[in-house]
């Protein structure tokens, strides 16, 4: 037997006479037996009757055909061959010019693109140089491509392009500054080839390298070994039998055809072919590399390098240095008669900046000031300078603040002071 709920869902269809014969019999039978459902049917019948009555006056009374049919001949005749259900005319009402729309659109786009192309800002033309020759002495041969307007050559200030090779003759020296900045100093009878700013090969001779830290490792290939570094100072000596590597600071990885290992500072290793046991030994790296100290960059060539190859590093703005000297020993302030400055001599022969020295006491009251001339730093024989306190010695200062303010009027090369001390009486 059908449930009341099932019957209820069929009541509307019963009123609308839309039940199938079987459904009709089942519903009628249920209604005869169930008073509740019969009552519901009457309720729904009343609603339906009311709806029919309400809409009655608005019902369409006349046949619309005549009114529409008389307008049809005015319209375009629909004489089209019909083949199949999904047949559809391609474009029955298309105007003749529509066919040209794609071509015209393409033409307009082209007309817009041409001025944009010519107005587009050009990227600054790169010189293609990866470095500059910053020192050149004696006969140096260069083989390679020219860069920009400069001829490929081994003269001072020549630009270095990828793939160039350089060979120093007897008694000649060369210094190459590459992007990074990485500096290479070539001893006499040396041949190197610069593949790019982080890859080079040394065929023969002796090379001193100051490698800047970079994202890519720096690789030096020699006939017998490969040296890989990230940022360090080292030397490579290549002859026909072996490659000798000396490390001053940092860390390098070296390998020959059968083994690889790492070299620590102040160590030297001779790499030979086929030797799996390469044992480094301690050396005084500074004395090994003493030959390189005489190769100092030419200031103008270095300026060219910083402007054309390393523009970013030229933006460095060094500040002043301040040293504090405690003058009190066992609660007694010692009178100060002189000040001493020590620094690490650099590789530049000229172009140093001078320094203004301001001396203040513990409450930052200036006691005196003086100047250190730029020529002091260009003299490579000295690494120290003395300033005598003018007039009477300084007494009861407690702490001396010594400020070193760079004065760039004479040059851009700053000096890194390692120590400042005072002479107490």
């Amino acid at each position: 037997m059908a449930t009341c709920k099932q019957i209820e869902s069929l009541l509307q269809a019963r009123i609308d006479a839309e039940l199938g014969p079987a459904e009709g019999v089942i519903v009628d039978q249920h209604l005869a037996e169930c008073g509740a459902c019969a009552s519901k049917l009457r309720g729904e019948q009343r609603t339906s009757a009311m709806l029919f009555e309400s809409f009655g006056p608005y019902r369409l009374q006349r046949d619309m055909r005549a009114g529409i049919m008389q307008h049809l001949p005015e319209m375009e005749p629909l004489r089209i061959d019909v083949e199949g259900v999904n047949w559809r005319p391609k474009a029955p009402h298309r105007a003749w010019w529509v066919a040209f729309v794609p071509a015209v659109a393409a033409l307009i786009l082209l007309c817009l693109a041409i001025p944009i192309y010519y107005a587009w800002p050009k990227a600054p033309e790169s010189t293609g140089a990866i470095g500059v020759i910053t020192h050149s002495a004696g006969t140096v041969k260069c083989a390679g491509t020219s860069v920009g307007n400069a001829e490929a050559g081994a003269n001072l200030k020549s630009l270095i392009a990828c793939g160039n090779s350089y060979e120093t003759g007897p008694g000649s020296r060369l210094m190459l500054s590459l992007r990074g900045p990485t500096h290479l100093k070539l001893e006499e009878n040396t041949r190197v080839r610069v593949f790019d700013d982080r890859v080079l090969s040394v065929d023969t001779g002796r090379v001193y390298l100051e490698v800047a830290k970079g994202e890519r490792p720096f690789t030096v290939n020699t006939p017998l070994s490969t040296v890989t570094v990230l940022g360090t100072v080292f030397e490579v000596l290549v002859d026909s039998q072996k490659t000798t590597i000396t490390l001053k600071s940092g860390k390098v990885r070296y390998e020959n055809d059968v083994a690889q290992s790492e070299l620590l500072p102040e160590e030297q290793v001779a790499v030979t072919s086929g030797n799996a046991h390469l044992t480094p030994h301690k050396v005084d790296a500074a004395s090994v590399m003493q030959w390189a100290d005489v190769i100092v960059p030419d200031q103008e060539a270095y300026n060219l390098f910083t402007k054309q190859v390393e523009p970013q590093s030229a933006a460095e703005l060094p500040g002043e240095e301040v040293f504090a000297i405690i003058t009190t020993r066992q609660n007694v302030a010692r009178p100060i008669s002189a000040l001493f400055f020590a620094w690490q001599p650099d590789g530049f022969s000229s172009g140093h900046c001078g320094y203004e020295v301001r001396v203040c006491n513990e409450t930052m009251v200036e006691l005196f000031k003086t100047r250190v001339d730029a020529s002091v730093f260009a003299d490579k024989s000295r690494g120290m300078y003395r300033i005598d306190v003018p007039g009477e010695p300084i007494r009861n200062a407690g702490v001396l603040h010594v400020k070193l303010v760079p004065d760039f009027s004479s040059g851009d090369v700053t000096t890194s002071f390692t120590k400042v001390w005072a002479l107490g009486i």
């Binding site: 009123i15 009343r46 309400s54 019902r59």
Partner: protein
Amino acid sequence: MQDDAQLVFRCLEGDTEAYGDLIRRYQGAVYATAFYYGGRYGAAEDIAQEAFMAAYRSLPWLKEAEKFGPWLKSITCRTAANWLRRHQRRAMVETPLPSRRPVSIEDAGEGPRGNLERNERFERVQTAIDTLPERYRLPVILRYLQELSYDEITAFTGESRDEIRGILQRAGRQLRDSLSDLDTSEEGETTWRPVSR
């Protein structure tokens, strides 16, 4: 009797009589749809006529001839929306139905009181239908305005017969609930008229 697809093909071959048969078949549904949108402004017949002419012009674009009914429904809806947009100002100013209803000879005898009651009742029915879910409204109008059978509603809306049966069942129950307070037992001359087929 030819089915819709056959009539459509005959139309496309230039037989306007076939289009007459399609009009006869669908005029109730198109009129009811037009009434649903523009009936308040007495525009149902205008909209229906416009819809049939628009459909005739667009017939070459009909993709599936056997789905002529749902296609005609969408054209009717679009035509009604266009009509309302075109006549928005007029529609806002003019008094909406039921007073826009065409007055016939039979109505004249009832007097103003009968008219007023009938108008109030129709307003209530319209409001009750407006509260139904949107999907229920058109089938209800098709059923109660033009007395379309479930098959005719199915052919026009494109929904299945079972869906239409369910929609009308649920809509009927909701309408009964919202119109239960209207007294329908009162005796009087009814305004119901048979549909012309």
